[in-house]
Amino acid sequence: MSVLAARELDRLGYADGPLHRLDARAKLLVSAGFLVAVASFPRYEVAGLAPFALGPCALAAVGRVPLRPILRLVLAASPFAVLVGLANPFLDTAPAARVAGVTLSGGLLSFLSIVLRFGLCTSTLLLLVATTPLPRLARGLRALGAPAALSLQLTMLYRYLFLLLEEGERLAAARLLREPARRLPRFATAHRMLSVLLHRTFERGARVYRCMLVRGFEGELPSLRSEGLRRADALFLAAGLGLCLAGRLFPLTRWAGTLLARGS
C-alpha cells in the first residue's frame, strides 16, 4: 500500500544527517534545477540522461534513505506516464540508432527516455521529502516567495493528512468486514462512507479551530526555527546546480564511454 510507504518517507524526513540539516530552500532550488535539466533533453535522449541517475543515488546514499519505499511509490505512480509513452514504439518505427548490431526504433528510444525521466523526476521529489520534514519545506517555499496562505495551508494539510487517511482506512476495513465478497464498495455504500468521513472532517476542523484560538492563532503559524543560508547550504546549492548544468551541456556519458573504450 502506497500510504505505508509515504508514511515511512515522512518518518525518515525527521532523521538527522548532513543532508537533513541543509536549508530547505537550497534543496528545493536544486531539485527544481534537476527537474528542468532532465526535462530539457530532446525526446530521443537516453544516454545523456544516464549521468543524472547519480543525483538520486547520491541523495539516497548520503541521506540514508532505504530504496524500498521509494521504488514502491515510483512503481505505484508509473501507469499513466508509461501508458502514454507506450504508444511511441508502435507509432514511430523509423530506425534511429544501432547499438551492438541491434537497430533501435525512434519510438523505442523515446519510450525509454520517458521511463528514465519518470524515474529520475519522481525519485528526486520523494528523496526531497525523505530528507526534509514537510513543515520545513513549507517554510522554505514561503521564504522563496510562495504566498503565506499556501505555506500555511500546506502545513495544516500535512498535519491532518495521515490522520484522515487512517480514518478512511478504518472505514474501508469496516466495510470490507461487512461485505467481504465485494472488492470495491457500491456507489451507495461509498456515498455513506464519504458522508461519514466528511462529517468527521467538519467536526475535526471546528475542534481544531477552537484549540488554535485558545493558543492565540493570529493568521500565521509561528516557528521557533530560524532558517538562514549557511556556507554548507550555499555550497550545496552551487554544486547541485553546477552539476545539473554540466550534465545538461556536456555529453558526459559519451566521454566516459570513449575513455573506457580507449583504455581497454
Binding site: P42, A149, G168, S195, M212
Partner: protein, 336 residues
C-alpha cells in the same frame, strides 16, 4: 489524471507554472483579505486531507465494470469558494507529488490548471447560475452534473494539449482526443454525482446546527485570471499553429506583410538564438521525426552504451560504499 514531469518539456511546464503561480498569488491575496480567513484556515486544512482520503476510496461505477473516485476540485470550489479552493488543491497536488510520486513539480502548474482552475473558474459559476438557490431538486442535480462534466472535459483537453505540445509522447491526436474525452465523460458524471451528494450532506449538517462551510461568495481575481487564460489559449494556439509549421508567416503573407530576413539585427538575433537555445533540435510533435533522418553513427552510440553502463556501475558502487563510509565515521564519533 496527473501530468508527470516526464511528459513535459520545460517551455510548456514553465509557462503553465507561471500562469498558475500568478493565479495562485492573486487568489491568496484575495483570500487573506476575506474577513473570515482565520476561521477558514483549519477547515481548508482538513478538507484538503478529506479530498486526499476520498481519492483513495474507490467504488464501482454502476452500469460499467470500472471503478472511480472523487477528484474534489468542484467540491472544494463549492464548499470553500474559488480562491480558497485553488490554494487547497495546489497544496494537495504538492503533497501528492512529494509523498506519492503522483504529478510533479514542473507539472504542478499543468495539474493545477487541469484539476483546479476549471472547476473554480467555470464549474462554480456554472453551478451557481444554473442551480439558483440551494442544492435541491432536479435542477441543481443537472447544474452540478454540467459543471463537473465541463470541468472534467476541459481538464482532459488540457492534458492533451500539454502532452502534444511537449512532444515527448507521440499519440495520434484524434485517437488520443477521442479516448481522453470519452473516458472523462463518465468520470465527470460520477464526479458531479458524488460532489452533489457531498454538498447536500454538508447542507444537512449545517441545518443540524453543526459547523459546516456554507456557500461562500467571491470570485477569482480578474487580472491574473485573464493572464492565466491567455497563457492557456496561447498554448492551444501554438499547438494549432504547429499543425501548419509556417502558420504565422503564412497568415502574415496573406495579409501582405513582408518579412525582411537579411539585416544586421536579424543576424544578431539569429546568433543569439543559436547560442541561447536550450533545445536546439527541439521538434514539435506534428513535424515528427522524418523517416529519412540519418542513423546515429555506430561508434558514438556504442560509446554511449558503454558510458551508460559505466555510470550505472559508478552509481551502484557509490550507493553501496557511501553509507558504509558514513557509518564508519559515525562509529568513530561515538568512540570519541
Amino acid at each position: 489524471m496527473h501530468m508527470a514531469d516526464a511528459l513535459l518539456s520545460p517551455p510548456v511546464g514553465v509557462a503553465f507554472d507561471a500562469a498558475a503561480g500568478l493565479l495562485l498569488a492573486g487568489a491568496a491575496r484575495r483570500l487573506q483579505r476575506e474577513p473570515d480567513y482565520r476561521e477558514k484556515v483549519p477547515v481548508m486544512g482538513v478538507l484538503g486531507a478529506f479530498v486526499f482520503a476520498a481519492q483513495m476510496m474507490n467504488f464501482t461505477i454502476p452500469g460499467t465494470g470500472s471503478s472511480g473516485h472523487l477528484a474534489g476540485g468542484l467540491l472544494l470550489a463549492i464548499l470553500l469558494g474559488p480562491n480558497a479552493s485553488l490554494i487547497v488543491l495546489s497544496s494537495v497536488l504538492l503533497v501528492q507529488a512529494l509523498f506519492f510520486a503522483d504529478g510533479g513539480l514542473l507539472a504542478l502548474g499543468c495539474n493545477l490548471f487541469n484539476m483546479g482552475v476549471w472547476p473554480a473558474l467555470l464549474g462554480l459559476p456554472l453551478y451557481r447560475r444554473l442551480s439558483r438557490e440551494g442544492a435541491r431538486g432536479l435542477r441543481s442535480t443537472l447544474a452540478c452534473l454540467v459543471a463537473a462534466v465541463v470541468s472534467a472535459e476541459l481538464g482532459a483537453l488540457g492534458v492533451m494539449v500539454e502532452t502534444q505540445l511537449s512532444g515527448r509522447a507521440d499519440l495520434p491526436f484524434t485517437r488520443f482526443a477521442g479516448l481522453m474525452l470519452g473516458i472523462h465523460l463518465p468520470i465527470g458524471v460520477v464526479e458531479g454525482l458524488v460532489t452533489l451528494a457531498m454538498v447536500r450532506f454538508a447542507e444537512k449538517v449545517a441545518r443540524g446546527g453543526l459547523p459546516a462551510p456554507g456557500h461562500p461568495q467571491g470570485r477569482l481575481p480578474l487580472v491574473p485570471t485573464v493572464l492565466a487564460l491567455a497563457v492557456f489559449l496561447g498554448c492551444v494556439g501554438a499547438w494549432f499553429a504547429s499543425a501548419r509549421p509556417d502558420g504565422l508567416e503564412w497568415s502574415l503573407a496573406r495579409v501582405g506583410a513582408v518579412l525582411p530576413a537579411n539585416g544586421p539585427a536579424h543576424a544578431l538575433m539569429k546568433a543569439l538564438q543559436a547560442r541561447s537555445a536550450l533545445l536546439p533540435d527541439y521538434g514539435l510533435p506534428s513535424s515528427g521525426r522524418r523517416a529519412d533522418a540519418p542513423l546515429v553513427r555506430l561508434d558514438t552510440s556504442l560509446a554511449g552504451a558503454i558510458g551508460v553502463l559505466a555510470v550505472a556501475v559508478l552509481a551502484g558502487a557509490a550507493g553501496l560504499a557511501l553509507p558504509r563510509l558514513g557509518r564508519g565515521a559515525r562509529g568513530k564519533d561515538r568512540a570519541a
